[in-house]
Amino acid sequence: MLKIQNLHAQIEEKPILNGISLTVNAGEVHAIMGPNGSGKSTLAATLAGREEYTVTQGSVEYMGKNLLEMTPEERAREGVFLAFQYPVEIPGVSTINFMKTALNQIRVHRGEAPLDAVAFLKLMKEKMKLVEIDQSLLNRSLNEGFSGGEKKRNEIFQMAMLEPRLSILDETDSGLDIDALRIVAHGVNALRSKNNATIVVTHYQRLLDYIVPDFVHVLYKGRIVKSGTRELALELEEKGYDWIKADLATAR
């Protein structure tokens, strides 16, 4: 589904990603871990097409197409979803209105007819249950005055609505208490299928207790320095990132 090869990216002349290679197949869940400043969020943003990040080298192939040539909205319409670490507020625009606009643009892109109000509402009610989100929240201005947990649940609600092929969760666990974490993880797990894939970007192992990854990669200084299975995450939790850093230092 996704094939990243030797990806280099920078922001304002400052290199952040220094040659990332990663292949994600349908049905897989990959966790990207790493200390602060290692480039985790940059990777997520670059895949989503954030303008500030310039790709200087490498390629990204998504569903057989060159992802880097696509605009952010094209990527989204082709099924790339980013759950934001800091979802923005849009005053005066309800989540419902926002989702209706988004879903219908995606549907038109796919050559499908826009959903009418009744069908949309039906779909919405169904997806609301998944993340235990209340309709009153969805009637409010998008993310305005939402608690941290509400924002993250709203992100997963949107993910459920848009049914992406490739979901990238950027630090979705940050700022969540254990109950909220459980709800969010439940939503993500319910959406897992053999046809879609998930990249979970996280600093802590905790989230991976709930969303169990098939592969774990450790990002450090803009490169994947270690890959493994779930055990790698547990090892990291026990030994800390210094272990990786020290390991790398001796290797050199």
Binding site: A48, P72, E73, L82, P87, I90, P91, G92, F98, M99
Partner: protein, 481 residues
């Protein structure tokens, strides 16, 4: 950011969609302004002597006045002798049915989406169509007449209802009120008149549609709305003009007189030609709008969506004379390219327990300048009065300006006045968030701007709100910052 500039350019290169000209034969006054021109207009309209005198008095006063310089707008001096003050499409003196109206004229309004054929109209809106200096047609007159509602062109009102005109003309905006109001009083050629009898709730939206067609011509129309005790009316006003390189002057006056327990809701969607993207041409929209809550518990509510005009200079105001009377002002003013707007309101509290509410949303893009100017005056006698003002500015790009000039003075200690103001930018973050959900940039801006203006747009009647939303999106298409 380079990308933003690109988007801004894309947006700003949008063409004005009502910029075409109709080929209509016109009966026009010679260029320039003098007592003779005032007499010419009055004669063309076969006006009574008192009205001519009223005009001349206004004209003479105007000659002693100077153009106001305090608005936060700049433009080359207007040559008042280079303007045609009267232009009417040639047609039968007073058409009694639509069959007698020049088909080209009907087509002009059809093209604007204003059908003057009643059967074709959406029921629920009666229209007075004004082209250049004269009213072309008024629809649903008879149906309204059954309720005692008078809705007709100003000229017809002068002929048919002289007592009402004599009593209320200039009662809210005196002929000598200000430079442009005095000019209007001297040369106004037509407009709409509306009278709602006591206790009548007008069953449909009344609306005036203004269209400037002729070149080198100023439009000076006058609207007078009188709401008798306990009546209610909702009034809509729309306007467009062809694209021309010259600037054309539009100096209108709107007067609203609301008696005891009456309520008037006045909504405007202003879409005059704004000039091209380099700031050439466009309408100078210098308008005086004022409502008087003459009786107790009267209510006047202004809602405006200002998207057009090269320069907008207007302050729809409320004089709250009756005790417990209420004034409201809801405004969205959008400026793009080189447009300039200096707009706001005046709330003059004279009666006891009067209340006013101001919600102003400015949106600036391109190289435009957008100012909110508002006065809240609470008189000594106006005890226990309340005002709440909310003035927000939204900036798209970094080459435009937003300014706020609030004037507040309260002469008693039992009243309360609140003023809140914010300035924000459409963030790249917001745009990217929308894009990441599959929404393209233009739709994203439209979504964000409509969300921002929602509180005001919600005040508009349904049919208008949809149009206003589209217009906002169109005006701003491309201007992301």
């Amino acid at each position: 950011m380079a990308k933003d500039d690109h988007i801004i350019q894309e947006f700003t290169s949008r063409e004005y969609e009502h910029g075409w000209v109709s080929d209509l034969e016109a009966d026009a006054a010679p260029k320039g302004l003098s007592e003779d021109i005032v007499r010419f207009i009055s004669r063309r309209k076969s006006e009574p002597e008192w009205l001519l005198e009223w005009r001349l008095k206004a004209y003479r006063h105007w000659t002693t006045m100077v153009e106001p310089k305090w608005p936060n707008v700049t433009y080359p001096a207007i040559n008042y002798q280079d303007i045609i003050y009267y232009s009417a499409p040639k047609q039968k003196a007073s058409p009694t049915s639509l069959d007698e109206i020049d088909p080209e004229l009907l087509k002009t309004f059809e093209k604007l989406g204003i059908s003057l054929t009643e059967q074709k109209r959406l029921s629920g809106i009666a229209v007075d169509a004004v082209l250049d200096s004269v009213s072309v047609a008024t629809t649903f007159k008879e149906k309204l007449g059954e309720l005692g509602i008078i809705f007709c062109s100003f000229s017809e009102a002068v002929r048919e209802h002289p007592d009402l005109i004599k009593k209320y003309l200039g009662s809210v905006v005196p002929a000598t009120d200000n430079y442009f109001a005095a000019l209007n009083s001297a040369v106004f050629s037509d407009g709409s008149f509306c009278y709602i009898p006591a206790g009548v709730r007008c069953p449909m939206e009344l609306s005036t549609y203004f269209r400037i067609n002729a070149a080198k011509t100023g439009q000076f129309e006058r609207t007078l709305i009188v709401a008798d005790e306990g009546s209610y009316v909702s009034y809509l006003e729309g306007c467009t003009a062809p694209m021309r390189d010259e600037n054309q002057l539009h100096a209108a006056v709107v007067e609203i007189y609301a008696m005891k327990n009456a309520e008037v809701k006045y909504s405007t969607v202003q879409n005059w030609y704004p000039g091209n993207k380099d700031g050439v041409g466009g309408i100078y929209n210098f308008v005086t709008k004022r409502g008087l809550c003459a009786g107790d518990h009267a209510k006047i509510s202004w809602t405006q969506v200002e998207t057009g005009s090269a320069i907008t200079w207007k302050y729809p105001s409320c004089v709250l004379k009756g005790d417990y009377s209420v004034g409201e002002f809801y405004s969205v003013a959008v400026t793009n390219n080189y447009q300039q707007a200096d707009t706001g309101t005046k709330m003059i509290h004279l009666g006891k327990n009067t209340k006013s509410r101001i919600v102003s949303k400015g949106i600036s893009a391109g190289k435009s300048q957008n100012s909110y100017r508002g006065q809240v005056h609470v008189h000594k006698r106006a005890v226990q009065s309340r005002n709440f003002s909310q003035c927000d500015s939204l900036l798209l790009g970094d080459q435009c300006g937003a300014h706020t000039f609030p004037y507040i003075d309260v002469e008693n200690s039992s009243s309360r006045v609140e003023h809140e103001a914010t300035t924000s930018k459409i963030g790249e973050d917001q745009i990217f968030y929308c894009q990441q959900r599959g929404i393209d940039e233009e739709s994203a801006v439209a979504l964000i701007v409509n969300g921002y203006a929602k509180e005001v747009l919600n005040q508009l009647p349904m049919e208008f709100a949809v149009e206003a939303q589209k217009l906002l999106a169109l005006t701003l298409e491309g201007s992301v910052g």
